[in-house]
């Protein structure tokens, strides 16, 4: 009922390569990348990426949008924490989307941000499947971007 993260390869602990499947209307929260490199390639459909500035330390207002763009099939994007934060969404109401993500070094926790206030909240990331096998949820923790 939300987008799924499907691990394909963990590169001997050096990276995580995963495929994300986005249904119509599915989107991620605004999130950071825990000091890792993040590459993304669109395999099917389109995804909108909205970049945000990091909120002020004591900030308590709406987060600032830096830019937004729609990534088409086969286009690539890159982000890391020094560039900023982003939200990725499938804005189509008729087509699903599929993207390939490479994170190096791998990470399993990051921060999500409330767009209205800039408050951040640490989350643990879970996989819907790993190497083709469904990963059963152990806890009810809210999963990630």
């Amino acid at each position: 009922f939300r987008y799924t993260r499907n691990l394909v390869d963990n590169g001997n602990g050096k990276f995580n390569l995963m495929i994300l499947c986005w249904g119509e209307g599915h989107g991620s929260s605004i999130h950071d990348h825990t000091d890792s490199h993040c590459f993304m390639k669109i395999l099917q459909g389109n995804l909108k990426e909205t970049l945000f500035e990091w909120p002020e330390k004591k900030g308590n207002g709406e987060m600032t949008k830096k830019s937004e763009r729609v990534l088409r099939e086969n286009q690539c994007a890159y982000i890391n924490d020094s560039i900023g934060l982003h939200r990725v969404e499938n804005i189509s109401h008729t087509e699903s989307a599929v993207s390939l993500h490479l994170y190096s070094p791998p990470f399993n926790a990051c921060n999500t941000f409330d767009q209205r206030t800039g408050h951040k909240h640490k989350v643990t990331m879970t996989f819907y499947s790993q190497f083709g096998e469904r990963t059963v949820c152990v806890s009810m923790r809210r999963d990630a971007p």
């Binding site: 939300r2 209307g25 989107g27 929260s29 189509s92 008729t94 408050h119 909240h121 009810m140």
Partner: protein, 313 residues
């Protein structure tokens, strides 16, 4: 649709005519007895004749499970569609709908309903009469409020409300105990509420009605004019658990912010019978909490904790 479709493929179960520029689907559909999935997205459907006449009597009415009409030009939900009593999954995403018909409740087998990307301004309470609905998508519309009855959707697992015009939510939303996902971003949810200081005192009829209900005064249709019997049946209970009173037309609107450990503050609308009634939920940031409010606070914080896990950022 090609004529003779049902003669050539009488056992057809899945038909995908998406992206073919179709402006109408004719009677060829009516003689396909095994059809359970019909995908017709990204076409030019929406005018009269988009769906064939006699749809309600066709075998399709009971056999069709999945219908995808997203990316078309429907400005209203075609009434013929509501006769598809076996329908489990319906998508009308990316059309031009301005409303949802109350007769949507006829689709009693519906589990998945996608209405994102339309111009819908309000949700009919009848939508809550769908007992199997698990997944409801209403994102990217113009919805201004959620009817409290929506909390009766016991099977609801996922509710998508992002990018609408909601300023608050009904407090009943906390009753959706099976909800696993809720998206609310992109709504102008109020962050501050100024209590309306003007309070219209209740009418004599209302005061009398409140007393009849509060004191359990027995009455029968032979004792009162029919209009008053009906009036008494419309009493609403004050949500303040310490009150136990009722109200009819005169109530106080109040927004209480339910705090999720300082991360999110959701504005929830309450109706109270009078300004003196304290609300069942008090914000965690309020300093003094009286003994009488502590029970209802526990209730609120349990609900808030559950909702925190469910809220998508």
């Amino acid at each position: 649709l090609p004529a003779g479709l049902s003669q050539w493929f009488p056992a057809l179960e899945v038909l995908d005519v998406s992206g073919t520029g179709l402006a109408e689907m004719g009677t060829e559909l009516l003689s396909l007895p095994s059809l359970h999935t019909l995908l017709a997205k990204n076409n030019r459907l929406g005018g009269p004749g988009s769906l064939p006449k006699g749809l309600g009597q066709a075998p399709l009415a009971r056999s069709l499970r999945v219908l995808n009409l997203s990316g078309n030009r429907f400005s209203e939900v075609p009434p013929a569609l509501l006769r598809l009593r076996g329908l489990r999954s319906l998508s009308l995403g990316g059309n031009r709908l301005h409303s949802i018909p109350p007769d949507i409740q006829e689709l009693q087998s519906l589990e998945f309903l996608y209405l994102g990307g339309n111009f819908i301004t309000a949700i009919p309470p009848e939508l809550a009469k769908l007992p199997s609905l698990r997944y409801l998508v209403l994102c990217d519309n113009k919805i201004q409020s959620i009817p409290p009855q929506l909390a009766q959707l016991h099977s609801l697992r996922s509710l998508s409300l992002h990018n609408n015009l909601l300023t608050y939510l009904p407090r009943e939303i906390l009753n959706l105990v099976h909800l696993e996902e809720l998206s609310l971003r992109g709504n102008p949810l109020v962050v501050r509420f100024v209590r309306d200081l003007t309070y219209n005192p209740p009418s004599l009829q209302e005061l009398a009605g409140r007393t009849v209900k509060a004191r359990n005064i027995p009455y029968a249709p032979s004792d009162l004019p029919e209009s008053l019997v009906r009036y008494l049946s419309l009493a609403s209970n004050c949500p303040n658990p310490k009150c136990g009173g009722v109200y009819f037309d005169s109530c106080v609107r109040q927004i209480k912010f339910v705090d999720f450990c300082g991360k999110y503050r959701l504005p929830l609308m309450h109706y109270l019978c009078s300004p003196e009634c304290s609300s069942p939920f008090s914000s965690a940031s309020q300093s003094s909490t009286s003994q009488s409010e502590s029970d209802s606070e526990d209730e609120a914080s349990v609900a808030a904790h559950r909702m925190q896990k469910v809220l998508l950022g």
